[in-house]
């Protein structure tokens, strides 16, 4: 397929998804046109809207990259949500319970902690996949729930800040990711995310590691024949994937909430799956997909504030996008439909 065909097919699928989601909204008794207008207007017409879109896109860059990286190795990591929680908790604890240190050093430690704990959480799945040939999809789903519950326990008891809310104490300023501009919630976590897009691109396409990871993902038997350690690569890929998701959690804690709050993620990890699929598992694609989803989410929040339509409408759009992107043969149905329509007119 030529590039323009690919882009064309993608745009067509996106359009169909938006149309279908709009149809659902229409049958729920709302005007989809008003909704889309309010969303787009709210998300990009002013700086606040743009900032909000970027704030919403930030964690999705991390989780999208996480899922995409594992997918490149042929491993389906559904567990980004749990890894994100573990990373967030690690960063929150390092940021709040280690006394203030020089700024970059403390921040670095907190981010590193987030990456390591996210990676380790994913490594459990890698271990079970390699040793017991367990299906990583089910394992990572189970690890999601366990991870979230574990963090909930820590936030409720072990690391709980005084007060009624299940959350950890505020992180020290030396561990915080600075805000970008004033009056927005946008933080340098976005820059970390952008940096990671570049780094992961380089790793995947310009290093031996990335080359071997992708070979394993495309044809594990050829990889083994070429002397690549397939089990080892699976481990590495899942660890890196988990670390990326963990960094996403750390970014939310250090940049946005300044602490770990029980149940803080509205499903960034699951959205990461959609982002990775839409982005074709490439870092650049992930960036665009995350921005689109961030925009949708921000638009949804504006929608929620200004109309009666709840932000959950965005979920319908996301679902439609996933279904239209992930079903390879769905456009054939359309072609077939057009063809039969044409023959009908001939008769």
């Amino acid at each position: 397929m030529k590039l323009w065909q690919k882009v064309g097919s993608l745009v067509l699928r996106l359009f169909l998804a938006l149309f279908t989601a709009g149809l659902v909204l229409y049958f729920s008794g709302y005007s989809p046109l008003t909704a889309y207008k309010a969303m787009i207007w709210g998300a990009i017409s002013n700086w606040d809207g743009i900032a909000l879109s970027l704030v919403q896109a930030t964690p999705l860059i991390f989780t999208g990259l996480a899922v995409a990286f594992a997918n490149n190795c042929g491993v389906f990591n559904i567990g980004a949500e749990g890894q994100l929680y573990l990373g967030a908790m690690a960063a929150a604890v390092i940021g709040a319970f280690i006394p203030p240190l020089p700024h970059f050093f403390h921040l670095f430690l907190a981010l590193l902690g987030g990456a390591i704990f996210g990676g380790l959480w994913a490594s459990i799945a890698a271990w079970l996949k390699v040793k017991a040939e367990a299906n990583e999809v089910i394992i990572t789903i189970m690890l999601n729930s366990i991870g979230i519950l574990l963090c909930s326990y820590l936030a409720n008891y072990v690391f709980k800040a005084p007060g009624p809310v299940a959350q950890t104490p505020e992180v020290h300023a030396s561990a915080a990711l600075n805000r970008i501009g004033t009056g927005t919630q946008l933080s340098t976590a976005l820059l970390v995310g952008l940096g990671l897009i570049i780094i992961i691109w380089v790793v995947l396409y310009r290093t031996k590691l990335g080359y071997e990871v992708r070979i394993v993902g495309a044809n594990p038997r050829a990889a083994a024949t070429a002397g690549i350690n397939v089990a080892g690569m699976t481990f590495v890929a899942l660890f890196i994937s988990g670390a990326l998701a963990g960094l996403g959690g750390a970014g939310q804690v250090l940049g946005l909430h300044s602490r770990f709050i029980d149940g803080f993620s509205p499903g960034y990890g699951f959205d990461g799956i959609a982002v990775a699929i839409l982005g074709g598992n490439s870092p650049i694609g992930v960036l665009f997909a995350a921005l689109l989803f961030g925009l949708l989410r921000a638009g949804g929040m504006v929608l929620d504030r200004t109309t009666k339509i709840p932000v959950d409408f965005v979920l319908i759009i996301q679902a439609a996008i996933i279904l239209f992107i992930a079903a390879p043969n769905i456009l054939k149905f359309l072609k077939g439909g057009l063809k039969s329509a044409r023959t009908n007119t001939k008769q």
Binding site: Y30, A134, I138, I139, M142, A274, L315, I322, L323, A326
Partner: protein, 317 residues
């Protein structure tokens, strides 16, 4: 002596615990049974959560519109069937990855029910109170001491679960339909070579599974609260998935594993009453599943062709 035991507080608590175990197990069992149908036919059903949610919502809607809770259940079952048909369509016909399709299904259900919740009741958190489905005392049996109180004063959904368990077991292991379905989940190419329409069976099984999962969801709304709350399934779909695995894709097995997980649920509620941490008890289903899949607890065997797309290759179309 006996009287002493029967009147003791510990006995009372145990009874309450067992009764609530059955209550908690009911939705899990129904949804897990749904997973058995779908996955025995080789289609991974990660959309249980969404199917339950849709069932919960449309159950309440049906009851709200008609004033009859059982018509609500009917609408719930239909909605589950429709959503499951969508899953079957995108996976079987349009060849979407089963896992991805399931994830989309869950997002769709949460979005759809939340939007409709506002559209219909103008409330973002919960629906209006509707006519629910209440526990039924089975005549005579419910008067049996101890057993009667635990087993025969339950919600009709519980009785339904037991009946469906028996029917499903019979269907899977005593009819040709079940024999063929089990064979399809293992080796669709072999079944196809015998001239059996593989995809028709798959569609029927996935849709039936969706209906069962929706029934489980309807229990949560109509059987427990008599209203719908946003995202009220809150992860039970994943526990049902776990119950399906621990139950070894077997109708009787999933009811037993649902009872185990229901018991953990009941214990957790009691701990909550005393202000103790509940998280570790809540983890039990997930941890057990991981141990099972890691080969550490018991041997389970997933259908061999689970999650695979079936293509005939170079045969006549």
């Amino acid at each position: 002596m006996l009287e002493q035991i029967l009147n003791s507080e510990a006995f009372f608590l145990t009874m309450a615990l067992l009764a609530s175990t059955l209550r908690m197990a009911t939705p899990l069992g129904l949804a897990a049974m749904g997973a058995v149908y779908s996955e025995r036919a080789g289609v991974v059903n990660l959309g249980l959560e969404g199917l339950m949610l849709v069932g919960a919502f449309f159950g309440v809607l049906g009851s709200y519109l008609t004033g009859n809770a059982w018509l609500g259940v009917l609408l719930a079952v239909i909605s589950g069937g429709v959503l499951a048909f969508l899953l079957a369509l995108v996976t079987l016909r349009y060849k979407a990855n089963h896992v991805v399709a399931g994830v989309a299904l869950n997002l769709l259900s949460l979005g759809l029910t939340s939007v409709l919740l506002v559209a219909i009741w103008g409330n973002r958190g919960k629906s209006a109170d509707v006519e629910g489905i209440y526990p039924v005392n089975i005549p005579f049996l419910s008067d049996i001491p101890v057993l009667g109180e635990i087993f025969f004063r339950q919600s009709p959904f519980f009785y339904l679960l037991i009946i469906l368990m028996v029917i499903s077991w019979f269907l899977f292991y005593r009819t040709k339909w079940g024999l063929r379905l089990r064979a399809i989940g293992e080796n669709p190419a072999a079944v196809d070579s015998l001239g059996i329409p593989v995809n028709t069976y798959k569609y029927i099984a996935v849709i039936a599974g969706g209906m069962l999962a929706a029934l489980g969801g309807a229990y949560l709304s109509l059987g427990e609260l008599s209203l719908f709350g946003r995202n009220m399934v809150s992860g039970r779909g994943y526990i049902a998935l776990a119950a399906n695995i621990l139950g070894n894709w077997n109708p009787v097995g999933v009811v037993l594993s649902s009872l185990l997980f229901g018991f953990a649920n009941a214990v957790e509620m009691n701990l909550q009453l005393y202000g103790w941490p509940t998280q570790f008890v809540q983890m039990i289903p997930y941890v057990v599943t991981i141990f099972v899949l890691g080969g550490l607890v018991r041997k389970v065997e997933a259908p061999k062709a689970l999650g695979e797309h079936f293509d005939r290759g170079d045969t006549h179309v």
